[in-house]
Symmetry: C2
């Protein structure tokens, strides 16, 4: 919960920066459907409609159903905590009247899932609660505020992400020592997960696709689960996308292995050339990262490097924020495609932690890398040690 | 996934009953924020915006980002699966033009969290996708449809809930054999969870409050976690609220123990009187349950029984649907209070599985019961064996 306190302090400062009088999180039945931002504050649970209000003046006030107040009280982040039995409306309006914020940020966003925790039904309810008050007319999307709050990591958050990266590296090492030709993607996935769990870690995303694996040329690219009938052979590459969680903070890295044929001492030239193009695109992109740059420019630099090297564009973004989730929302290195909405135009800020990831499909398998960086005051630094060449598995 | 197929068949039949041309589930980044209904269909994951469309004609069509299609394809419930790289809009509009539904249900609901999976940001996106088409004007809330789909259990779903109840009973038995005065709520909770996990089961809700415990008179009522400093003493009652999951289907039951004082052979009269009032209110309410009855009437009968017995009203609803979640949304035995919106007026239907739960705060502790019933064609039947008297712990 130290991080919860740090993030609450940060929220107050950011309300000032983003010129919001208050920020309101509105949820119900969080066991069924919660707001992603609540995880930043110790993930308080509520059965009945509950509001968590952060005021620019520094106050943090909760309104919960009677019986839902105890866990929030024990947590200590909100004080006072108002309770109700029949309807949240009266207490909620009372809190707003007391604070009288000029602008109230709420959690909806067309572009950013992590800033879009308010359901449409709850939005309609909120309008009804605020009927006859001036506050319905003061609601705005808090997306830029939430993006900054999630994106700008505190020292405590960054330390946990770094631990997650170190643990992932250790798993890559163990897996590399064990790999051999003939294994199926599913067998490799089982081994990887067992090693993650043995370290007392959780996976950073759904187990079905964690690790994500591409063994050889027949494996379909994308968010597919490891296949029992796809086996890695001598002469193939193996691509692995793995993330783990340390105390709720994630890593997200990709590494690539080449399985030597009998008598081979190094990968064939086309594998080395593809690897160099991928690693080079990531290095080039990293050189453009600094506060104030719009994310799409970094994506475009990698995209251009790769196509100039003679490879097709990658069908996804160059990188995304990492933190509480492997895909942590907010700004990232997104191309200016419709599916990314306004996100490509977001500007980078110091404290952000991002991936840089892309790949090339080769005749012997997918060759992809994913590294992690932190944005500093005047550039970025590597949080992962970039992979320099395909790891080799002896034939 | 057998249940996924059954629910998909059921969905087609219900589209007809609820006069919807199509039903659309719209999600993105399901690892961060999903729609609760997806769990009914094997919980397919998607990173990029994805639509799952059920047509009254029986077709089930998915639109996913390229790379998200593989897991949906492997699952087999949707065919065809359209993929896109830059924007979902064109494929989605194409699907609607092909089906041309007169009314399209989408997942928002003011009253029911389980039918409210669409975020407000995604709702705004949907309006934008459908701009310039006739379909934006055909969107309606699918809440009654979703409520029926979740609420009316298939034989397979009911069998899993029954297994969850049997497992919970077995845990109650083991815990009862072990209980003794002097234990703290936290110690009891640890033991209960260990017994649940040893059976290979998951908890039905967040571990912090599962089991929910009230030991003696000083324990706060509500959704609070078990306390390390609240210990059960001779002369106290212990109330336990426990649910487990079997293959994703839940139980939700409350039981009450009395800790005999030295020399006591049975609980004091006031404990027996309170227990009888609680059990009697539940029995009385169960007699009113049958298809077509609005839920609030059942709640009112229990409420009236309890107050006539000289106890205060319980500050919550008499009962809720149970299935994929312990609080499964939809119709229930809700009082006509604002916080329950329109839910109290929903009418019961055969196939529904519900709790009946209430309690009384006594000077020696909380005395509450929660039983489970299934609605039949002409009444209801007990899925749990109702507790007849406080379980006794020897002094």
């Amino acid at each position: 919960m130290m991080i919860g306190w740090d993030k609450a302090q940060q929220a107050t400062a950011l309300l000032d920066e983003f010129d919001l009088g208050a920020w309101m999180i509105l949820v119900r039945e969080t066991g069924e459907h919660s707001d992603p931002v609540l995880k930043l504050f110790g993930d308080p649970h509520a059965v009945w409609p509950a509001a968590f209000v952060f005021a620019r003046s520094g106050e943090r006030i909760a309104v919960t159903g009677l019986g839902d107040d105890q866990p929030v009280r024990q947590q200590g982040l909100f004080d006072p905590i108002h309770t109700y039995t029949q309807s949240i409306r009266e207490s909620l309006v009372g809190v707003l009247e007391q604070l009288d914020p000029d602008v109230i940020g709420i959690n909806y966003s067309r572009d950013d899932v992590t800033a879009d925790g308010l359901t449409h039904g709850m939005y309609l309810n909120l309008l009804r609660y605020l009927e006859g008050t001036p506050y319905a007319g003061r609601l705005v999307s808090a997306e830029l505020f939430v993006e900054a709050l999630r994106g700008r990591k505190t020292a405590g958050e960054r330390a946990l992400v770094q631990r997650a990266i170190r643990e992932t590296d250790a798993v890559f090492q163990e897996v590399g020592d064990w790999l051999r030709a003939g294994l199926s993607e599913l067998e490799i996935a089982y081994f990887v997960r067992e090693r993650v769990f043995r370290r007392g870690l959780a996976l950073a995303w759904d187990a079905e696709g964690c690790p994500g694996l591409n063994a050889g040329p027949s494996s379909p690219w994308g968010h597919a689960g490891p296949a029992a009938d796809v086996r890695v052979a001598a002469g193939d590459t193996l691509n692995m996308d793995l993330g783990v969680q340390v105390e709720g903070y994630c890593s997200d890295l990709q590494r690539v292995w080449y399985f030597l044929r009998p008598g081979e001492l190094e990968p064939p030239a086309e594998v080395m050339r593809a690897f160099a193009a991928v690693a080079g695109a990531i290095q080039t992109a990293s050189g453009l990262v600094r506060p104030g740059v719009p994310g799409w420019e970094v994506d475009a630099a990698a995209r251009s490097y790769l196509t100039k090297a003679g490879y097709p564009e990658f069908p996804h973004a160059l990188g995304h924020s990492v933190g509480r989730s492997a895909h942590d929302g907010g700004t990232g290195f997104y191309p200016r495609w419709d599916r990314y909405g306004g996100k490509p135009y977001g500007r980078l800020a110091a404290g952000g932690i991002y991936t840089l990831e892309l790949g090339v499909r080769s005749p012997v398998g997918y060759i992809g890398l994913e590294e992690m960086i932190a944005i500093t005051e005047d550039g970025c630094e590597w949080l992962s040690e970039p992979q320099r060449a395909p790891y080799l598995v002896a034939g």
